[in-house]
């Protein structure tokens, strides 16, 4: 069979089988085709389970050779055949669907042509050729736009086979990893691309835009926009801001945000000096003379050396005096810790170094009984405000530093 005859056969085969046009005139067959129109979407299917695979061992060997010439292994991902592409192609060309029946003709015809061509040029089957010989054939058919007229059908075969190989590979975990796809994971929020990326693309200033809830940076360079003294008019002495790091050594006045926050998400990093004690208050009001009489406190502590560290209820990341934080999450003094606080309605979460360490409900029966048994029982407004200041405790002993402090409002529920 010469090449021309082969390709005629390829073309004939490609038009065989029923051509189902969507919504075709007249009756669409009621017979169940393939997996039908209501398959069980919860099952994991494997090639060959729904219809038998039909490629011969020799055809599968050729399929693997060709797929791996198209998608070889490299330092990012394995080859196509290692990603299961041969099974996929066998499944595809064996399926009863119109597109698949058309491709079956194209692929099997192409396989035959490849071996004939390899035999004519090198006296061997394609899969047995040295790589250089294989690519010498593929180089002649890899681009339909500049292929010789006599090889046009072979080029169409190769284009289709490359598409199938790519489809089988990229629609797999290996392909997703190769392309750096990081979605399909539940997210607590969706913030869009990093601002720095948009700036680099010249896309920073937008005249029209969605009013998304934005993060507010609380420490920028040598300034602390949005922070002030709790009971001093300006920024109290003793606090320093340098390169985005807010720090103090000795007891100083507390800081609070200019704005109040109800439902919010706060992120920051902190570092405490040896034996030091500080804290983050939230939803604090001016009902009393001290922030901690109204606002719950995320404790900041050198657990190992400060007296409060002996009790988990008052240790680092605890909801001070009410809810204990587990041991072993906080880092030693003088090391940075990552903190996240989420307050959403009555729901509060304390996070430390990537772990949720405290999770409680304000105004719940449990919370109410714990408050009643604590020193806060004397302050009836404690923890009840729907919104209030974020406060940073400065009036306790020891050095403390904060950086990467940002906050955003959550929608009120």
């Amino acid at each position: 069979m010469d090449r021309r005859t082969t390709l005629k056969w390829v073309l004939a085969a490609s038009t065989a089988g029923p051509l189902l046009r969507p919504g075709g005139v007249g009756a669409f067959s009621a017979a169940k085709l393939g997996y039908g129109s209501d398959p069980d979407l919860s099952l994991n299917y494997h090639a060959g389970e729904l219809w038998p695979l039909t490629l011969t061992p020799a055809q599968r060997r050729l399929a693997a050779t060709l797929s791996d010439l198209i998608i070889p292994a490299d330092d990012r991902s394995p080859s196509a055949s290692a990603a299961g592409v041969v099974d996929f192609i066998d499944e595809w060309v064996s399926a009863p669907y119109p597109d698949c029946l058309r491709d079956r003709g194209i692929v099997l015809g192409g396989f035959t042509w490849l071996d004939l061509e390899a035999g004519q040029r090198f006296g061997q089957d394609f899969a047995d050729l040295a790589p250089a010989a294989q690519t010498s054939i593929l180089d002649d058919i890899c681009d339909a736009a500049r292929v010789a007229a006599s090889l046009r059908d072979a080029a169409q075969f190769f284009a289709r086979y490359r598409d199938l190989t790519a489809g089988g590979f990229y629609a797999s975990p290996f392909g997703r990893t190769d392309l750096g796809y990081i979605g399909n994971q539940p997210q607590a929020s969706f913030d869009g691309p990093p601002r720095a990326l948009l700036v680099s693309l010249g896309l920073d200033a937008q005249p029209l835009g969605p009013r998304v809830v934005r993060w507010h940076e609380l420490l920028v360079g040598s300034t602390a926009p949005g922070l002030r003294g709790w009971n001093t008019p300006g920024f109290p002495a003793g606090w320093r801001v340098e390169d985005g790091v807010l720090s103090k050594e000795d007891p100083v006045h507390d800081l609070v945000t200019l704005q109040t926050f109800g439902n919010f998400e706060l992120e920051l990093e902190w570092k405490i000096g040896k034996g030091g004690n500080s804290g983050i208050f939230y939803r604090a009001t001016r009902a009393y003379d001290h922030l901690y009489w109204s606002g719950p406190e995320y404790q900041i502590l050198d657990d190992a050396n400060a007296p409060d560290g002996r009790n988990r209820l008052t240790a680092a990341a605890s909801a001070y005096g009410l809810y204990a934080a587990p041991v072993g999450v906080v880092r030693p003094f003088d090391q940075w810790n990552e903190t996240r606080i989420v307050a959403d309605g009555t729901h509060v979460e304390h996070w430390l170094n990537g772990r949720k360490v405290v999770d409680y409900e304000l105004k719940s029966a449990d919370w109410t009984s714990r408050v009643a048994a604590s020193k806060f029982a004397a302050y009836p407004q404690y923890g009840l405000a729907k919104a209030g200041f974020i406060g940073l405790q400065g009036d306790h002993s020891g050095a403390v530093a904060f950086r990467r402090m940002r906050i955003r409002e959550l929608p009120s529920v």
Binding site: L20, I70, D143, A144, G167, V213, V413
Partner: protein, 598 residues
């Protein structure tokens, strides 16, 4: 007992609702919340939103999740027993000519097509209800924007729609606190907005029925059901059970956390909680039956499980089976008194079927190549869209077509699939091997797609009728479709093409095939799945099928609560309007019940 069978159904329903999609779901919800007893009949099987294969990935599916005739939008699409063909339920095209082709999308499942749709929720504007008065083409609706606006408000608050109020022409604002915040934009959204903006084409936040945050269950129920404490408490409880978007998975898979609107995630759960709703699935309604005094008394349906014909009775019948399926039921409801079908004294049942004008183009944008890994799943697309922006030019007669279109667009590093590395020769010169892998990485995420969605003007040549020969597997005569675009639609599609090309050019991009012209530029009729018309509402019984309340002129207790009543098909996607009209019709029925008129 909410789910009944042909044998356990009751005999004293206030209302039968045929169909469980956006229109039927909304009508049943409104009726049940106000105490009416409703039997809902659905032709397809029961479907639970918990079936949604949200996070499932293509390698777990046959053929890597490819589109097949049984699953035209891919294996994991929510549609059950549907698509362009439904097994055993054919339809007929009157012409073999491609230009006269109409494709009909159906779904046979609880919730119908609302499980699959794009969740784009745009209000018709004031112009859109009075098109004839503006340009002398098509028909005016017998109602105006002010009639429907309160129901748009209510539907948006009930289902949850994200978007913003931009105050643009014929693009209505919603009341304060009605819309949810829109999602963040992808890199491609930023770029398109910037470059389209330079051409004077505005890109603004899209409106979609996806919860970007929890609904306000303390505030909204009292606004939707004033004076109805039970309805308020049921709705508040159900709103608490809906979870905001988790910023992953395609909405088309369905939503088991109920973050997006489907009839099955929003309308049916609270309606069932009232105890007033019975649902009968696998019930293929084919005929409205008539009792004494020219009043409908129920429907005949095929119980698909037994294959037997059964009957259901009620004081009022609402058809919400989808525009053409509702027309089919009317046309098949023949009797000595109604030889040309029920509610068809005007001869207009089946007439003026409309779809949306569709045209699309994809561009490759070098600026978007080789971006770092980004999670761009977002709310599954459509953070922004372009509303029709050329009202003044159109009014001045400068465009050569009478009605507008909007542009939906998208890009980003979405989950790789079967098409990710396919068809790249025009960019790669036919590479294979290591170079091919590098090329795919380079181009992944660098494509943007534009879809125009334009208004079609109803015409005399686009309609459905009963085929004299072909019957479906149940023996029910099927529809035969006639279809014809006018120059208005063709020119509009051509305008879309030049606009897309201009935006892609302004982005420094390139297209593979360039501008499509002629018949290639316009998508096949029906393929946008915005089928409306077929029983249009009007001010005159001689030229329309229903009045302003979706009540048929001929049969006092027969209503239509789907897209069939649309007297025009604005570029705005129809689902939100279907729901607003269905709620309005339900309120009217409840009012008439109170006055003992029905």
């Amino acid at each position: 007992m909410p789910f009944v069978t042909a044998d356990t159904q009751q005999s004293d329903y206030d209302v039968i609702v045929v169909g469980s999609g956006a229109g039927g779901g909304q009508a049943a919800y409104a009726l049940c919340m106000d105490g009416a007893k409703v039997l809902m009949l659905e032709a397809g099987r029961h479907y639970a939103y918990t079936e949604a294969p949200m996070f499932r990935t293509p390698e777990l599916a046959p053929l890597r999740g490819a589109s097949t005739p049984g699953k035209p939008y891919g294996y994991f699409d929510a549609t059950v027993d549907g698509g362009w063909s439904v097994p055993g339920e054919p339809y007929v095209r009157a012409s073999e000519d491609e230009a006269g082709r109409f494709d009909w999308w159906r779904a046979r499942m609880l919730g119908g097509r609302s499980n699959h749709w794009g969740r784009i929720s745009l209000r018709n504007g004031p112009y859109d209800f009075k098109p004839y008065s503006r340009d002398g083409l098509g028909f005016d609706w017998p109602i105006g924007y002010e009639d429907v606006a309160p129901y748009y408000d209510k539907v948006e608050m009930l289902i949850g729609v994200y978007g913003t109020n931009e105050g643009l022409e014929n693009t209505p604002n919603s009341p304060a606190d009605c819309l949810l915040p829109p999602p963040a934009r992808l890199v491609s959204d930023h770029l398109i907005a910037q470059r389209a903006g330079r051409l004077g084409i505005p890109a603004i936040p899209a409106h979609r029925a996806v919860l970007t945050r929890a609904l306000d269950h303390e505030r909204v129920p009292a606004l939707l059901h004033p004076g109805n404490a039970r309805a308020q408490s049921i709705l508040a409880e159900d709103m608490r059970r809906r979870t905001p978007c988790l910023w992953a998975t395609p909405c088309g898979h369905g939503c088991s956390i109920r973050a997006n609107y489907q009839s099955t995630t929003v309308h049916l759960p609270p309606a069932l909680m009232t105890g007033n709703l019975d649902i009968l699935t696998d019930a293929m309604v084919h005929e409205v039956t008539m009792g004494s005094g020219g009043r409908a008394n129920g429907v005949n349906f095929i119980d698909r499980l037994s294959g037997r014909q059964r009957h259901a009775t009620a004081r009022v019948v609402i058809l919400a089976a989808s525009a053409c399926e509702s027309a089919r039921i009317l046309l098949n409801s023949t009797s000595a008194r109604f030889p040309q079908g029920l509610a068809n004294s005007s001869g207009k049942v089946g007439r003026y079927v409309m779809d949306t004008v569709g045209s699309s183009m994809q561009g490759q944008i070098p600026l978007l190549e080789n971006l770092p890994p980004l999670n761009e799943d977002g709310a599954d697309g459509h953070a922004l869209y372009v509303p029709w922006w050329l009202y003044p030019e159109q009014r001045a007669g400068k465009l050569g077509f009478a009605r507008g279109y909007h542009i939906e667009f998208g890009g980003g590093k979405r989950m790789p699939g079967l098409g990710t590395g396919a068809g790249l020769e025009w960019l790669t010169g036919g590479s294979y091997g290591t170079k091919f892998k590098e090329d795919v990485r380079r181009y992944y995420g660098s494509f943007v797609g534009f879809d125009g969605r334009g208004e079609m003007i109803p015409n005399e040549h686009s309609f459905c009728e009963i085929d004299p020969v072909v019957k479906d597997r149940w023996g029910i005569p099927v529809l035969r479709f006639h279809w014809q675009w006018s120059d208005h639609e063709r020119r509009q599609a051509a305008h879309m093409q030049t606009t897309f090309a201009a935006i892609i050019d302004a982005m420094g991009g390139r297209t593979r095939k360039g501008i499509k012209t002629g018949a290639d530029a316009i998508a096949t009729g029906g393929s946008i799945i915005h089928e409306v018309g077929g029983a249009i509402m009007g001010a005159d019984a001689k030229t329309s099928v229903t009045n302003r309340w979706c009540q048929t002129w001929d049969v006092d207790n027969l209503f239509i609560a789907d897209g069939a009543v649309f007297a025009s098909n604005a570029d705005k996607n129809p689902t939100l309007t279907i729901m607003a009209l269905a709620w309005r019709a339900a309120d009217h029925i409840l009012e008439r019940f109170k006055r003992k008129e029905l």
